[in-house]
Symmetry: C2
Subunit: 647 residues, 2 copies
């Protein structure tokens, strides 16, 4: 089984990613700690840690926040775990240990852990799987526990969560005396697989399989649950419940399309992939392939985001990709990257990483400000700030990043993803090393007792040049170097070993080079150039439009560079795209200029007219990477943004 | 003061409108009667009349339907009143009289009339003006009462409603012992003006003025009301109440833009115009002009519909006119036509009728099927049926007309509008007769004791030819013939009197011809030809698009004529538009053909691609009038529709 390298084996020092990998430990994790402790002025109280203190009997008051508020602490702890692997920090570790101890004190005697139900609704435990998020929160804490154990070696959180997992194992299953339910929001399934991998305790894996195999059976558990007299509705908007919302409309092995709430779908599919691997379940793998293809081919935005409907944060239908009213939640993209990593692990096909890279370089970056203290929950592809108004169809679209959210899943999810970035660079299995992302780093690890040293030196995505130094002693090792999909199918992926063209084999979008390595140097050269990407006309809103891209990055137009009303601009596809380096955005970016035109508004104020003759003037469009859009604006001066440009 | 002719003075017999004017009495009103009586299979019970029977103590059971369900009966009665003026029907009149008697029996002793509060919440009367719709329902019943009296001479409903109006006058006002509130949904204001005009009772007019002048005063009545301990929330979605929703954010005389719920805004503006007329209030008139211009110039769709946001059925901001997620409620367009009629009456400017005509020929027709038994509540300008799914951002868009609605304001509103169509044709004041619409009819009425006979013979909008025969005896009479805005500013409005060019004067978009008329014949000739209308580029979603129009009708593309994926089509603006008559839609239409292209989808399924090269093939576009779209589809075979076409 392919596995990522341990995070503390990798040291990332990358021009493009340093900003984030350094910001997270230095600024984001401490900022989020302050938020979770209700200490950031201007941010409404999270109540997250206070809820644990109340549950532990150490503070009086009313439990606050969303039903799943606990999970913010879990994702924060997971981010801390990864951060400590790369950037040791005794103060941070002490805070994390203190929080873990508090969580232990908030845990009930039988292992139950959830401040909402413990404090607000003890009689309602396990009685609202539809909306209650008990298993969801448990899943995030289990992930945090596994991560904290992996990177610090400390077992306290793992012990706490094994106790809870044992209670869950005793509560759910096929046996007549158990509940035959499964979570309204998948997450625990992938977490239980992870807990099994850390502990070796088989019942955790079996429970994950039970949850996956039971999901969507008939009659629908949630529909039946909601009929019970002791069911207490939490979310009014779910009163007309469609089981597809939680991917429980049919058993997972019968699902052909990604339906419902996008984050739920991604976490579910991740667990399906994990179980396909653990049980060598070809049927489940095939189902994962079908669902992956459906998402990536027909329901994903060019920026790697998913979820076309603002209402219920959900998938809709194939090719329905509205640009200015979509949800495209940051967490859903993170889930897609997690799913892609698993599909790559299962299939050894590098093309899955085209999507992982698309997510990381575009929507994950879009999700967080360059200063690390503002976040997008929703990642639209067009923003008209004046239309993003409360109590309207575009109320969910925020034209500027926010300090925090009432439902704050995304900021901590970004933190755990960016601190865990190293997991996406390499995979290893026996004598095969897979290089999936071109991020400057050096790593040291052992295979069969032999130390392997590898470093990647690159300024990607500024260029497509990379120098890989590798030393594996006596060990024969196959390098599998991902050939990125965006370079097309030509012979433009040039690899040399010690200056001589490499005799590699191309398999599944990897170049495979086998050898024994002794401080050898592998150089990569591939084109990272501006290009146009055209929409399939089946995407009705993008007919007659193109997007600018460069390497893994999708570009956008911003008002600050192009003036107001970006929709009035069109692109001349016959003129070459020009690129140049600019430090107008901190960290530096490649800016792309394109020849085009601007429609001129008539003198009349009317929105349409009998006598309007549309005319245009020449205009040079300026495009910047989507991942850094909106970093030159603030609350009082939001700006327009546009990805798909008329041609 | 200009007034419409009494409906029973006008006999409409028009190729274009007969379908509707005959359907309404023959089919629609009886169908709606059955629905209101819960007798139509497949339509969930309305409960409307049953509620009155329960309130009258004549039936047992629970009051059902929306809080404003009573108003469906009111609008039905108003439609019946107009219908009886044109098409006497003893059975219908008997049913209406029976309903009126029932309403009388449901009225409380003090005059109060509202089945929701009488039956469900008697302690809550007048305590939830924000949401309760008591005054809204009262307004519709007052309108019905005035109409029924005007056309039948019967006074029973008028007596009932005067009793209720007197109670309202005793309940609301500036005096310390009265409530200082006003309705959450305007409607009673314009109804009270109408009641004053029918009865001459001044206090009704004064109360209308009170409601208008108090609206939006500080502190906001609704915000204060919602704080009271006895406030009972009816609509969960209004929990974060923004006073702009009900146009109560500032006093009406300080409002510059049309805000909030579009139907509420229209009914409010109508009352403002009425009061401007009654009180000769120039300030209020100026405010009406400002609000009209804001709506018509910047917030109205080319089809005459309004309300850009599906959530809260509201206006958003200038030039925000999404085509496929808008609300564009049929009732809001009807309100806009009512407002336009009033603005024309106040100003004698025919250009207001360009919008009235736009509403009637496009969105009002779109709102009802050619068979009269299916309705659109929401009138989008683009429909992608597969994306119109429950529990999503486009759930409010229905790709086919519906039999009825839980909130059924639109069907009865259509009925009263179409039966009252004659009110829009002529206005009269002293010796001035205004001809505002080109609808085939003959009319007979008296001015200063002198009988005037007028007939308009036309096949408009098939052509722009009309023959007006007029006889006014010894009376000198000025004909004011509206010059439609769509013909532009050239000398293409040709008018002859008895075959000789007329020496008329053009004032405010009217051609004025003064004379004494003795079976004279005035002929009109103006161009009704296919044309392109371009969007102002400020409407970002329509940049680079045009719409096809012909006379007062806006055209659209339908899937049934053009195949799937209408967005892939583009229009060649250099080729002439071709028109021909077709009876493919009952009643016959002018079809317009245009040269264009179709984008060809690639073989790959991906929604975007590195290697897609967009190519096109020639295609002849077929456009039909928007007002009749969707009449060749049914629930099981919905079709795409598109108004704005790429150029």
């Amino acid at each position: 089984m392919k596995t990522p390298l341990p995070l503390n084996a990798i040291h990332i020092d990358d021009l493009y990613w340093n900003r984030y990998t350094r910001l997270i430990p230095e600024k984001v994790i401490p900022y989020q700690w302050e938020v979770l402790n209700d200490r950031v002025p201007g941010v409404p109280p999270s109540n997250c840690l206070r809820n644990f203190r109340i549950a532990a009997g150490e503070e009086k008051g009313e439990r606050g926040g969303m039903v799943f508020q606990d999970s913010d602490a879990a994702k924060w702890l997971e981010a801390v775990a990864y951060s400590l692997a790369c950037s040791p920090d005794p103060v941070l570790e002490k805070n994390a240990d203190g929080l873990i101890a508090l969580i232990g004190r908030a845990q009930e005697k039988d292992g139950y852990l959830n401040t909402y139900f413990s404090l607000k609704c003890p009689e309602g435990k396990w009685k609202n799987l539809t909306e209650g998020h008990e298993l969801y929160c448990a899943g995030h804490f289990i992930e945090a526990a596994a991560a904290y154990f992996e990177t610090t070696g400390k077992t306290r959180l793992l012990e706490i969560m094994c106790r809870f997992a044992d209670l869950i194992c005793a509560t759910f299953g096929t046996e007549p005396n158990k509940l035959h339910g499964y979570p309204g929001h998948p997450e625990i399934e992938l977490a239980l697989v992870r807990l099994y991998r850390v502990t070796g305790v088989r019942r955790y894996l079996d429970l994950a399989k039970y949850f996956i195999d039971t999901r969507g059976s008939s009659p629908n558990y949630f529909i039946e649950e909601m009929k019970r007299p002791d069911f207490k509705r939490i979310f009014a908007e779910l009163s007309r419940y469609d089981p597809a919302y939680s991917q429980s409309h049919v058993p997972v092995r019968e699902q052909d399309t990604a339906e419902g709430h996008a984050v739920r779908a991604m976490y579910l599919f991740c667990a399906m992939a994990d179980l396909a691997q653990e049980y060598n379940d070809g049927e489940l793998l095939e189902r994962c392939r079908i669902l992956w293809d459906n998402v990536v081919q027909k329901r994903m935005y060019i920026t790697g985001s998913i979820g076309s409907s603002g209402i219920l944060e959900r998938f809709t239908v194939d090719y329905d990709l509205p640009n200015d009213s979509n949800y495209s939640e940051t967490c859903a993209s993170i889930g897609l990257a997690m799913f892609g990593l698993r599909m790559n692990m299962l299939t050894a096909d590098a093309s899955y990483f085209d999507t992982v890279e698309r997510v990381l370089y575009n929507t994950v970056r879009s999700g967080i400000s360059l200063e690390g203290d503002r976040y997008f929950y929703v990642n639209p592809l067009e923003v008209w700030p004046q239309t993003c108004i409360e109590n309207s169809s575009r109320a969910h679209i925020k034209p500027v990043r926010q300090k925090w959210f009432d439902c704050a899943c995304c900021p901590t999810n970004l933190a755990r993803t960016l601190t865990g970035l190293g997991k996406y660079i390499y995979l290893i299995e026996d004598n095969e090393l897979y290089i999936n992302l071109f991020i400057r780093n050096n790593a040291e690890f052992k295979i069969n007792g032999e130390t392997v040293n590898i470093s990647i030196d690159t300024d990607y995505p500024k260029t497509g040049h990379a120098k890989i130094k590798i030393k594996s002693g006596a060990l024969p090792l196959t390098l599998n170097i991902r050939i990125p999909g965006f370079i097309g199918s030509g012979n433009n992926f040039i690899v040399c070993v010690n200056g001589k063209p490499a005799a590699g084999e191309r398999i599944n979008n990897y170049l495979k080079i086998t050898g024994t390595w002794n401080n050898d140097e592998v150089t990569l050269n591939f084109p990272v150039e501006p290009r146009l990407v055209y929409s399939n006309p089946k995407v009705h809103l993008n007919c007659g439009k193109a997007a600018i891209a460069r390497g893994p990055e999708i570009y956008c137009l911003e008002e600050i560079d192009n003036g107001k009303n970006l929709a009035a601009l069109s692109l001349d596809t016959n003129s070459p795209l020009q690129e140049f380096y600019s430090d107008k955005i901190p960290g530096g970016i490649m800016v792309i200029k394109a020849c085009g035109k601007r429609l001129i508004a008539p003198e009349q104020p009317d929105s349409f007219g009998e006598n309007f003759i549309p005319h245009t003037e020449n205009f040079t469009l300026t495009a910047v990477p989507y991942g850094v859009w909106g970093n030159r604006n603030n609350e009082s001066e939001p700006g327009e943004m546009l990805v798909w440009i008329r041609i």
